[in-house]
Symmetry: D3
Subunit: 258 residues, 6 copies
């Protein structure tokens, strides 16, 4: 009962595809196969700005169509702003689509009572806070804390990054009464185990939690038929209507070597 999951780094930058793939396969269930994709072409290499999200919207959505066609069991759009999920649910009927904020929030709500989100820059907070409201998690939010780093700084000097996360995570626990910490960017991957051991509270990684959640949704879709409802807001457009301008697009792909 192997599940095939597609992780999309929705940027024109394949640099993180292999490291995220390797890192996640070490965390996945034995029966999970994980391919990691990114977008071809010229465009944003990070999504700190909502404007940049819009610049990758079209190829990302087309990748969703491709993934459904390829029979993936679930897909993760790998950005903590959870972009394009509504549109993805419209154009898919079988394959669940999730994203980091949804998965991290649900995980944190099951293991703790109040979480802090560690973001790179204060700039990210308002859009993320809107999502927290959309997910109904505002009463679970202890705080946002800012690391003062950009997306592409996190993996440059890992020791520094780890130290900064540790400082802010500790302050979240001690000053803001958080009992769980969410790493609010997928590129903060690779740190959670050390931090968790150090801090003694769950540290929710923004790549691992959505993998876990995707496995859960993939099972629920495959075994129970619990997939996106087309009854209301996720109703699909007619293929005839959209075929001229919205078609599947194969992304840049790092396949699971197994």
């Amino acid at each position: 009962m192997t599940r095939r999951i597609l992780w999309l780094n929705p940027v024109m930058n394949s640099a993180y595809d292999v490291p995220i793939g390797d890192s996640l396969r070490a965390e996945a269930r034995e029966d999970t196969r994980l391919d990691v994709a990114s977008l071809d072409g010229t465009g944003p290499v990070h999504l700190e700005y909502n404007a940049y999200e819009l610049m990758v919207a079209e190829p990302s959505l087309r990748t969703v169509l491709w993934a459904e066609q390829q029979c993936y069991d679930a897909m993760v759009i790998g950005c903590f702003y959870d972009p394009f999920v509504r549109a993805a649910k419209e154009v898919t009927r079988r394959m669940p689509v999730t994203a980091p904020a949804e998965a991290c929030i649900r995980t944190a709500q099951s293991v703790g009572e109040r979480f802090s989100v560690l973001v790179g820059r204060a700039k990210w907070i308002p859009e993320m806070e809107e999502n927290i409201h959309r997910y109904g998690a505002e009463r679970s939010l202890a705080s946002f804390r800012e690391l003062g780093m950009g997306v592409n700084d996190f993996q440059t000097d890992p020791a520094f990054t780890e130290r900064r996360i540790l400082e802010e995570a500790r302050a979240a626990v001690e000053q803001d009464r958080a009992d769980a910490v969410i790493l609010g960017c997928t590129i903060e991957f690779g740190f959670y185990r050390t931090l968790q051991a150090e801090l003694g509270v769950p540290v929710i990684d923004a790549t691992v939690a959505p993998l876990r959640y995707a496995e859960f949704l993939a099972d629920a879709a495959a075994l129970q038929g619990w997939t996106v409802s087309g009854q209301l807001g996720y109703q699909s457009p007619a293929v005839d209507e959209y075929a001229p301008f919205l078609s599947p697009l194969e992304p840049h792909l790092a396949k699971d070597p197994r």
Copy 2:
């Protein structure tokens, strides 16, 4: 002290540009000049689906850049889902950008206590309801009511459209305790005056209200310097960074004849 305002129909369909332009210029202040634009190319001719919004995201945002460059005093992104406003605020520093839902809600809140939104299809409601929450207007919402019509049906048989709107608006007032009615799609233009006379409550048109609000914001920007704050969530990316993939784009344009 003439204000130049750009109305964008964010679709690959210029059919409504002239009628909306004519209709709005009859409602505008004397010192307002209103150009109406739509998008070139092949793509969605309506935005009933969030997926379709994504397919016009890039050219719409590039039009925003072009409009700021052309020194428009304000711009309206003419779809009741209020798409791309966050991104538009990031990449502009001088020109205010508004959209129908924001403008209609603020107008309705000033003249009444509870409004109903008349939508074409139930499918539209969840995304619109999210916006109503984002604008903090959930306690002002009496109901959504569905006309059972698509965007491109509204102007096909105007007498039928008017009758349907009237039926649902009346039910909103009598059954849902609304004291104001919002027409929840820009293509419901041309009906509000008759309906308002018939119903005896304010009927807020989704093209006229954003024009009015754009004039207000244009004045506040020009006279008081109250334009988008770059301090937090609307911080701008560096031009150097985005120039390779995000540049101004001139839309299909119907200029104010005056």
Copy 3:
């Protein structure tokens, strides 16, 4: 298409009428005529207390009746507690009535994401916070900050006032993550331009924003007939019933010299 707007300082103190009038006319549209009024008689010279609001309720409401009779296009009740607006909407049918908090909040929400309100004393906060909830703006509120000054201190030593506002506004931006600042009292007029230049974020003045909003509402009323709805909570009492005890009252008036 000249608009005539009445600004009411709802206090028995005409000292601010001329300076506010002069200051606002410099900010108004060319086609706006602004008269400034205050109340005759013995009574409160500021409204820091809700009890004082009640002591000016009757003459204020009678002034509203007078203004509607005099065919003003819009009226501002110039106190940041937004007093008497519900009652004013009941007894008017044509003339829009607005007030500083509504106008400042809507302006701040259009240009930023989170605002701080700078109040004179902590005493003012609870009543103002109730209004922020009534306007659905609680998620936009970064903080209240207290200047430690009474209404009638603000214009006594302008340099001191400016310094204090600057200190608290800076703290609001740096510590409370505000990206816009609202001056929470009309008598904080005259400072916003300098502060805004200094701080680099929008500073919303409690006299200018309602003027702007009144112009917007006046246009919407005159051109679209969007005035107060009498369908629900703003239903009017019968003139016959109230004539014996509620009649128009001409206020102390400083007319627009133009």
Copy 4:
């Protein structure tokens, strides 16, 4: 340990003073003495309009000052809009002031889970709903239901009134899932016992509940010193400042005959 309570009918109409006094004394504790007052002069004889509330604001507040001076142990401002309570709390330091909506809501929340409020006209609902939000009771509200009667109709044909209340109360229980009913106007007095027996759910009377709550607050003030806090929003103005325009006023008084 006798408690003296003042009930104010805040209208220029003494017609209900004796019947309300008689009715309430039959419901009061043995050690309660209840005086009932109304306002002298020409003015509103009911408060269905917020504008009318403003016309009785000054004499009502002056009556509050008088009552504190006369050493009443508690006072009820007898209108279901709960008018003037904030101001009353500012100018008193010893005597608790309560009002019908607060008392009815708290009572209903202790005996049931969801209440409906039976109002005379739909016109009343928005202002009352604002109060329900201010009291944090929005999740306890099952519905408002409208009787189609004015304040001064309730006692004209009691059999008719009772029948109408019964119809709407039954619908509230059966259709709106209310398990308690609040009579949303003080002049709906005299009906609750019959209705309660008939319906089998608590029917909270808008005169009796505030009497009960006033006794509770009077005890807490007298025995524990739990009276209004002057620390924040209820801070008092200086007597010197307000004495020229705000002084105690003896109302029209129907004293407890005991």
Copy 5:
């Protein structure tokens, strides 16, 4: 018209029964008779943990049944987590049941605008905060503050306890803008008068407020028949069904000596 009230310390520890009884009788109305009970057997001597609440659930609920049978006029379940109130309302039909948080919150809301709750440990906060939300009091909450003491520390060194409460209460008023303070544990009894005198704001005691509220509810039940509604969530199970496993249980009792 004497009222008999039962206070239950829902723990297997009778040490506080006499001191709480003595202390409360000095605060009660003259016509109140107050018996204090605790639970027999081996079990928790404090309820800092929700798990401990569950271990006393059965005998506590059986005591409620006993109290209704004994014709008490009201009962208080004396723990600030307000445990078992829903169940108690199901199995009683005549006797009101209240608890400290409900009573303290309602009292604080009537005398002030924002309260702080002083808890022993941070551990208690999430469960208490859930109750504050259930009571709709989240907008009245200024802060929780932690004393760093367990339940059974409060009466060990009263001078130390008083000093700690004073420190945190002062910080609540000065830093968190509270204008009332709630002592968030019944075993913080005996301190409120001194603290209140020192601080100048109402300090609500978690034993005295529920006594007061119980008297209020007892009167409303006895005089108006306003007792728990069986219409919806508080519907009772059939006695036949529950008799085999749920029967009245006489607690350890310290009777009112009068």
Copy 6:
């Protein structure tokens, strides 16, 4: 990597243990082993009343301790009121505990936008609605709908039950704008597949969803160490303190035959 999960029917009734076990094993992952337990002794055979929940609290919690000791990978407390979860999280440190409402709500929120909950009786709604608020899902709730059946009626005449569920589910979709349906009682098991096929929207079963969610949490605990945080509200009592009155209890057990 087999996961062992314990399902507890927290009632003194083993009748459903085998059917639920059989039914769930057919839905589980291949590597899941599912034991089903119920409670020994005399007591409630259903939990429609909160009072009944309290009567099974102690043995249920002791079963949680036993399950942690037996090294189960996760446990479900099988009642849609989600009882005892907070306490269970306090006394466990390794084994995740979940319950039907949490699991169903999270599943429904991932596949749809608005769900209806089909309950047996209106009596259940208020307690369930409190949970929906605690989970922050109030904006996802379309409606509760009542089947007019008790817990122990559901499996008596399955054809009737199915028909009733279908009727109400259809009304939820058509009248309440639900796009997903939750079966709000574990004993509504066995129906979801037929209903889902008939209705065309996801029908979330209250036994299957928590199984799925338990697998997800078990993986997250075993692979990432994301288990309950002891930092704040789920802090554990000292074993020494609770050992005298709270010890592991082996339940009535139907083991996985595989």
